[in-house]
Symmetry: C2
Subunit: 328 residues, 2 copies
């Protein structure tokens, strides 16, 4: 495993070393792992003297304004630009790069580094690691490449690892994960300060949003499935931003007996965004979401489904309950 | 510091070695750190052949039924019993042992091991460590004493450390904390499984409780203070157990701009239980709670105040707002 990792890293290093212009990019609806991985890697590549752009469809969202050197992240350029290397981080399919694709001209080499098992391996070089966060792979790579991991890189990597593991709780959080965190703290991460930025700095409207969601809560198939829904009306009334919703599904997942939790969010374009979580890997929600054209991990997946909110709810919850009944 | 620790540990070891009967006890309203520290220490002492009792006023609460060897914890005996050593863990004052005190006859040596800076040093031997959880001190002691840390001990220590750090987020969570966690995982802790037991296994009534609390939310002094309240009526209507409330105050603390969060809980005996959290150490809520006869840490404290719910709310929030205004 270590050899295989090193071989993969060696190939990536050769490609990066040979490149002059590099675009580091990540997925739509970016999270802490997408941003943290990209920023840390970009800071390293800049230190090597590369011409680096960091692109995300949304630029840097306000919620992640606390990330050191976060302003390095921009929206993709309007006119297509050529790059020697496109380095996609934490992005399971090319399509999930969103509007980044429109900003790309000629790309010499596509490098695809990710921790999603469902990754489509769309790169010229693919490195799909067994890690709870892409940031952990980036850390391992930086150590492999002999990088001087600065405090700014450390904080970005820590945010990626902490947020993608639900604060060191989810599957694949390993002794290595904890030791990497310890090392990052020694490089300057202030744990209570950054934890507060990550987890204790929600706008007040998020509490109003939670109240509205709890009022819409639904329980079914002997309380083994639970869902709540967010209508466009509520989004407008409370001024909800997409990032406000992050993590709220955990309130349902945290209920004893609930095996599958579902969050329905009405989108403006006549679609519904469905997020799904399962408590045990044998309820593979990526398979359920796959039925509706989505994907993800076994225990955390999603889909965007055309249709009215109530109709999508009914359709999806029926499939969820059938799946649950199959296993009991 | 290491020398001082070792000296303290050496004194504890001598006292425990000399003892035949040992009572390991912890505070009322026990949390994961109280239980985890006690159970791990008791398993070690039993392996040494000691006659060990583990007492808590509440015995083992249902919420912590997942702790390995948790059944070792009992309520104090009705008739006073003599012990060579009373080992109090995670308990800042003798009084916080609650009904344990009534079960004690003659005690040879009081040992007091804790991580609360406000600890009253009521033992014959006191070890007040700079750690985010008493479980981390217990781990260090077990390593010092050459213990064979079994999987059962590891899980109990991990639960203590994880719960008392808010899943590795709070102040004093250090590189050592993370490395201890890594070691405990290698000794058999299943991270996703135990995290689910700790954080994703709340009864459905907790969600109903949260809804009720959010509906009572109050914001004051430019939204820098926030509170919610739980009346006896709601407690009875929803069948709320004391343990259901744990952690709910974090919903208020997590709101941007809120410096001090307060949770008021009406108690049956004409008192109100007040829990207080602050975001920054310069708002010392243990001092505010001290005014009302309580105490705790700078950023997490509490008090039990006689009076009607609404009267106590008014009185406490006035002091909180005065404190906040002083700092701005």
């Amino acid at each position: 495993m270590s050899n295989k990792t090193d071989a993969g890293f060696e190939e990536i290093r050769r490609a990066l070393d040979a490149a002059r212009s590099i675009c580091v990019a990540s997925h739509v609806r970016p999270d802490g792992d997408a941003y943290g991985s990209c920023i840390a890697m970009a800071l390293f590549l800049r230190a090597l003297g590369k011409d680096v752009s960091v692109w995300n469809e949304e630029g840097l969202t306000a919620k992640f304004g606390y990330l050191p050197e976060g302003s390095i992240v921009t929206k993709p350029s309007a006119a297509p630009r050529d790059f020697d290397v496109l380095l996609a981080l934490d992005t399971s399919t090319k399509e999930r790069l969103g509007s980044v694709l429109g900003g790309l001209g000629r790309v010499g080499t596509w490098i695809n580094v990710d921790h999603h098992a469902s990754n489509h391996r769309y790169g010229d070089i693919n490195f799909i690691g067994d890690a709870p966060a892409t940031a952990q792979i980036v850390y391992d790579y930086l150590r492999f490449a002999g990088a001087d991991i600065t405090e700014e890189m450390a904080v970005n990597l820590y945010v990626g690892m902490s947020t993608d593991t639900g604060s060191f709780q989810y599957d694949r959080t390993s002794p290595h994960t904890f030791r990497v965190a310890a090392d990052l703290i020694e490089r300057g991460v202030n744990v209570p300060l950054i934890s507060q930025a990550m987890y204790d700095s929600y706008p007040r409207r998020r509490i109003e949003l939670l109240k509205a969601l709890l009022n819409s809560a639904w329980f079914g198939c002997d309380e083994r499935a639970a869902s709540f829904s967010l209508s466009l009306e509520t989004i407008h009334r409370l001024g909800v931003l997409p990032e406000d919703c992050e993590g709220l599904i955990d309130h349902l997942r945290a209920i004893e007996g609930v095996q599958v939790a579902v969050f329905f969010e009405e989108l403006p374009e006549g679609k519904v965004r469905v997020s799904m979580r399962s408590k045990e890997p044998h309820y593979d929600v990526s398979r359920i979401c796959g039925i509706f054209g989505g994907g993800g991990h076994a225990q955390a997946a999603g889909a965007r489904i055309p249709g009215e909110l109530s109709a999508v709810e009914e359709k999806v919850l029926e499939v969820v309950c059938n799946e649950i009944r199959k296993h009991n």
